[in-house]
């Protein structure tokens, strides 16, 4: 009897959890719809921004290399370079390996150097790196509170400003952004993009893509244009990364919750079979007990 009771309890609890995962699936699928629309609207801008950066940076005259944001600080050895990472994770878990992948990608970059400064967007990554920060080796910006929900330009602008200021002051030598990129509407993967110091090779897949255009004129001067252009680039890139990440997050959560719901259904089917078997066994046992009893009565009487 206790077996039947146990199975019934399990069926009930799995059913309850399935309700939650199903609701989360529905929420993330409606959020995904909006995120995909935003992504589709931003993508032309983002792609053209990358294209323009490639084209402008490869046409920039030599003198540009002396500007602040192009300074590669080559005198600092690889191990001693302070790296700043902007890591975009989710605010919640329940999205499969989404957070794990971003964190793993970030940690790979962090291994290359002794000291890294982290600015983490999203609660999950924040919590993870906070625990690690106590162990040393990395520094977490304690005042960096930005959510990854509904990315907007305003947020991107203030993040870009704080990163650029730290680079200009020399607090950090390299700036990266670690985010999740949509490859197509179903697939996504973590991606590490170096932002500063600016170099055209960071924005191309392979060396051959660097198009050597004839030089363009910069009006009024290279410095003035770059001073205005670079914050714009940074802001646009960070905004793009935020939009891509948000979209990937919803996609990941949707897939994870969908498979959770499916496996809950499978478990329910298996359990209800078990339950019916146990019930049948109990009935059979009862009948045989009754039969056995009456047989004993007859033979006895």
């Amino acid at each position: 009897m206790s077996n039947m009771h146990e199975i019934r309890e399990r069926i009930k609890s799995i059913g309850d959890i399935m309700k939650i995962t199903n609701a989360m699936y529905l929420i993330s699928s409606s959020k995904l719809k909006k995120a995909k629309k935003d992504l589709a609207a931003t993508e032309p801008y983002f792609n053209k921004l990358l294209y323009a950066m490639r084209s402008i940076l490869s046409r920039a005259p030599e003198e540009a290399d002396e500007l602040t944001y192009f300074d590669e600080r080559t005198h600092i050895p690889e191990q001693k370079r302070k790296k700043a990472l902007l890591i975009i994770t989710a605010d919640k878990g329940m999205c499969g390996s989404y957070n794990h992948n971003v964190i793993a990608a970030a940690e790979k970059v962090m291994e290359e150097t002794e000291m890294s400064h982290l600015s983490v967007m999203g609660q999950v990554g924040r919590m993870y790196f906070q625990r690690k920060a106590r162990a040393g080796k990395l520094q977490l910006d304690p005042h960096f509170f930005y959510t990854t929900q509904n990315p907007n330009l305003y947020r991107a602008r203030s993040i870009a400003e704080s990163l650029m200021e730290r680079f200009a002051k020399g607090e950090v030598d390299d700036v990266y952004v670690v985010y999740t990129k949509m490859i197509n509407s179903m697939e996504y993967e973590p991606h590490v993009q170096q932002l500063l110091p600016l170099d055209v090779t960071h924005f191309v897949a392979d060396e051959n893509d660097v198009t050597k255009h004839h030089e363009a004129e910069f009006y009024p001067t290279v410095e003035a244009v770059m001073q205005h252009l670079i914050p714009n680039f940074m802001k646009g890139l960070i905004y793009g990364a935020m939009v891509e990440s948000f979209c990937s997050e919803q996609q990941a959560r949707m897939t994870a919750m969908d498979s959770a719901t499916t496996s809950a259904k499978d478990m329910l089917a298996a359990l209800s079979l078990q339950y019916n078997r146990a019930r049948q066994a109990a009935i059979t046992q009862e009948i045989s007990e009754v039969c056995g009893g009456s047989a004993a009565m007859e033979s006895g009487g």
Partner: protein
């Protein structure tokens, strides 16, 4: 048929206009800049202001907050934070934003905050100006 070049006006939240254009005027850092087909290669800043571009002999107008432009002889790319039609501007909202910014300007602020408010005020004033200029043309 007039000579044309390809124009792409892209805002961060949507592609605004992609197509042929005969003549383009946009606000550069020290005044308006006019582009005709065959212009020399150029990279410039775009200030908050009004862009006008001629398509099929007809001028079209839009408001841009800051951005930058890449000009080539047959192609112009303008990337802006926000590009809007005069009709789309919410004058009331812009007015409120301008009021807010003006009030903040009176407070003591750090330099960074001051720049932020100044930029916000610029954007709001530009929106107001453009929506006013075009509002009578209905």
């Amino acid at each position: 048929m007039a000579k044309t070049f390809r124009l792409e006006l892209l805002a961060s939240d949507r592609p605004f206009y992609i197509g042929e254009c005969e003549h383009l005027v946009y606000p550069a850092h020290d005044g308006l800049m006019g582009i005709l087909p065959g212009h020399e290669s150029l990279v410039t800043i775009v200030q908050p202001g009004e862009i006008k571009y001629k398509v099929d002999g007809e001028w079209r107008y839009c408001a841009i907050s800051e951005g930058f432009a890449e000009v080539r002889s047959d192609y112009v790319l303008i990337l802006g934070d926000a590009i809007e039609l005069p009709d789309e501007i919410d004058a009331k909202r812009a007015e409120e934003a301008a009021g807010r910014a003006k009030e903040l300007m009176r407070q003591k602020q750090s330099i960074l905050e001051y720049y932020h408010t100044q930029a916000a005020l610029n954007r709001a004033m530009n929106r107001l100006k453009i929506s006013k200029r075009h509002s009578h043309e209905i």
